[in-house]
């Protein structure tokens, strides 16, 4: 780590010299999804559209509506084409985008242009902060089988892209467990804040709760999400550890998610004295950047992140799946409450694929901890109604917006079948349109 300061003087990676930067405002297709190159600064994120429908590509099938938890995407035009009605109703989860059979939904915010500029800038140290789920999706963009773990290759790729400090958001997943677990234990013991405690890692869920259940805000854990913790820790503790001034740092959050772009722009995220998170991209954008740099991803060696803010555990990596935060928190709560060591860390009863899963966890010397794990916000709304009515029996509820958790996030590589189906559908739509124009005209 002490060598990091000298590292900034060494030559920048060669690819940067010849790289053509995408122009601000231009549209770029990355891994089958259209992105508008735009890096908002100092904007109130609640006024921004993070996803929007391309009217010319939309075939009015309505599939997006069935995946939208809030009804924010709906018929907007006379021929039935869809659109996002207002940013106020959209939680930015991107499930509409991931499930559109026509590839008609695009992302409106992309920082990739600005990140390449910062990578070129000799006075800036770009800091990587990848989420757990990214390493289970990234390989798919390079032809690897679904779900292949590419954590080590991802760190190697980040170094070759020119990131000066390879830190990892998994480390703050471990910090989150310490903070959020302690908060839960305080709520249970002191009773000064209401139970159940909801998790607050998922930015789609947090915006959903603030918008549709603001009366339950006190039930949300006050903990920031892991990335909300790594931003300020990088610029304070990380600055101390690396000897690099926080003003020189440019922190890049790399997420399987669209809603994290909203979270990074929240005005309150400035605990370090400046913006905690300078840029947010998702797995598809990282894959595109690696391809732009001409890096042969599959043949990269496995590398470790820089240790002090990078080392992580199994408890951190399972944050990527629905039920993971719960299981990781229980691995801590069990030991703290019982005073015993948890011999087998597998707590399989909270592992969830879809819907609502509940469990009673017996803890020696304490009693029973009642938990619920939910993925999908329509399911979360049912539990919220229960809490609102004062009928919720649980201590702790984990909510993930995307069905299955972050591994299925709106920013992950599209499923190959879905991509194929969308290619097929959009081709058919194009032929139909041309045929109709000729026949009908």
């Amino acid at each position: 780590m002490s060598g990091a300061k000298e590292k900034q003087a060494t030559a920048k990676p060669a690819y940067l010299a010849n790289l053509k930067l995408p122009a601000t405002g231009s549209n770029v297709e990355m891994e089958g999804v259209n992105y508008k190159i735009a890096a908002p600064q100092g904007v109130d994120p609640s006024t921004l559209f993070f996803v929007q429908v391309d009217k010319d590509k939309c075939q009015a099938c309505g599939e997006c509506e069935t995946h939208c938890p809030t009804g924010a995407i709906q018929e907007m035009h006379p021929d039935g084409e869809r659109g996002v009605v207002d940013p106020a109703a959209c939680v930015n989860c991107g499930q509409c985008l991931a499930n559109c059979p026509f590839g008609a939904i695009s992302e409106q915010v992309s920082y990739v242009g600005e990140i390449f500029e910062k990578l070129k800038d000799p006075d800036t140290i770009v800091v990587s902060m990848p989420a757990p789920a990214v390493r289970y999706g990234l390989g798919e963009c390079f032809g690897m089988p679904t779900g292949t773990y590419v954590g080590g290759k991802m760190h190697a790729a980040l170094r070759r892209l020119g990131f000066g400090l390879v830190w990892d958001n998994e480390w703050t997943a471990d910090v989150t467990i310490m903070e959020e677990g302690t908060e839960l234990l305080e709520r249970v013991k002191k009773g000064d804040k209401p139970l159940p405690q909801f998790t607050s890692c998922c930015p789609g869920w947090v915006k959903f709760a603030e918008t549709f259940y603001p009366d339950l805000n006190a039930h949300l854990s006050t903990c920031r999400s892991p990335i909300g913790m790594l931003g300020p820790l990088a610029k304070t503790y990380g600055s101390e550890q690396s000897g690099i001034k926080s003003k020189k740092m440019y922190t890049v959050s790399i997420m399987p998610c669209v809603a994290k772009k909203f979270e990074g722009l929240r005005p309150e995220m400035n605990a370090s004295g400046s913006r905690d998170i300078d840029a947010t991209i998702n797995t598809r954008e990282l894959a595109w950047m690696i391809k732009q740099a001409g890096i042969d991803f599959a043949s990269l060696p496995e590398e470790q992140p820089d240790p002090a803010l990078g080392m992580s555990t199994g408890a951190a990596t399972i944050f990527g799946t629905s039920g993971g935060v719960m299981e990781a928190a229980l691995r801590l709560a069990y030991e703290v409450l019982s005073g015993n060591t948890l011999a087998n860390p597998d707590i399989k009863v909270v592992r969830a694929h879809e819907g609502i899963k509940t469990a009673d966890i017996p803890v020696p010397n304490f009693g029973t901890v009642k938990v619920a794990v939910v993925s999908g916000l329509q399911n979360a709304a049912k539990l919220c109604d229960e809490v609102r009515a004062g009928k919720s029996p649980y201590h702790f509820i984990e909510v993930m917006t995307c069905p299955g958790g972050c591994v299925n996030g709106g920013g992950q590589p599209l499923e190959p079948e879905m991509l194929q189906s969308s290619l097929f559908h959009s081709t058919v739509a194009k032929i139909n349109r041309r045929f109709n124009q000729r026949r009908v005209g």
């Binding site: 924010a72 289970y136 779900g147 910090v175 467990i177 677990g181 305080e186 006050t222 694929h353 009908v440």
Partner: protein, 113 residues
């Protein structure tokens, strides 16, 4: 594009026939795609649990040496989790964002909730 009303009867039947054919074919492609999606999320989840038990040598957050260092007596967060500094850097507060959707509903926009 001109009005559909100008189309001949034969033209309409042809367009409608092709549209039907495509929609049947299209429906099946979509159905297969969604069935595959469920399996596909399962594959990614399975990979996470495999990594947890096989790749990561430490499996509990409290056992991570870098976490111990952070919360150590002489560490950056020496007051421990949920201490004063933690609250400043790592905790947050939430806003009531319901006004926007109330305004939308007042305008007659229907939402799911």
């Amino acid at each position: 594009m001109k009005k559909i009303g100008l189309m001949s009867r034969r033209g309409f039947i042809k367009v409608a026939g092709i549209a039907c054919g495509y929609s049947v074919l299209g429906f099946n492609v979509t159905r297969e795609a969604f069935a595959a999606t469920l399996e596909f999320v399962g594959l990614r989840q399975q990979s996470v649990y495999n990594a947890d038990s096989k790749i990561y040598s430490i499996r509990k957050s409290q056992d991570n040496p870098m976490i111990k260092k952070l919360y150590a007596k002489d560490g950056f967060l020496h007051e421990g989790p949920c201490g004063h500094k933690s609250h400043h850097l790592l905790h947050t507060h939430y806003n009531d964002r319901s006004a926007g959707v109330k305004a939308l509903k007042a305008k007659g926009v229907k939402l799911a909730l």
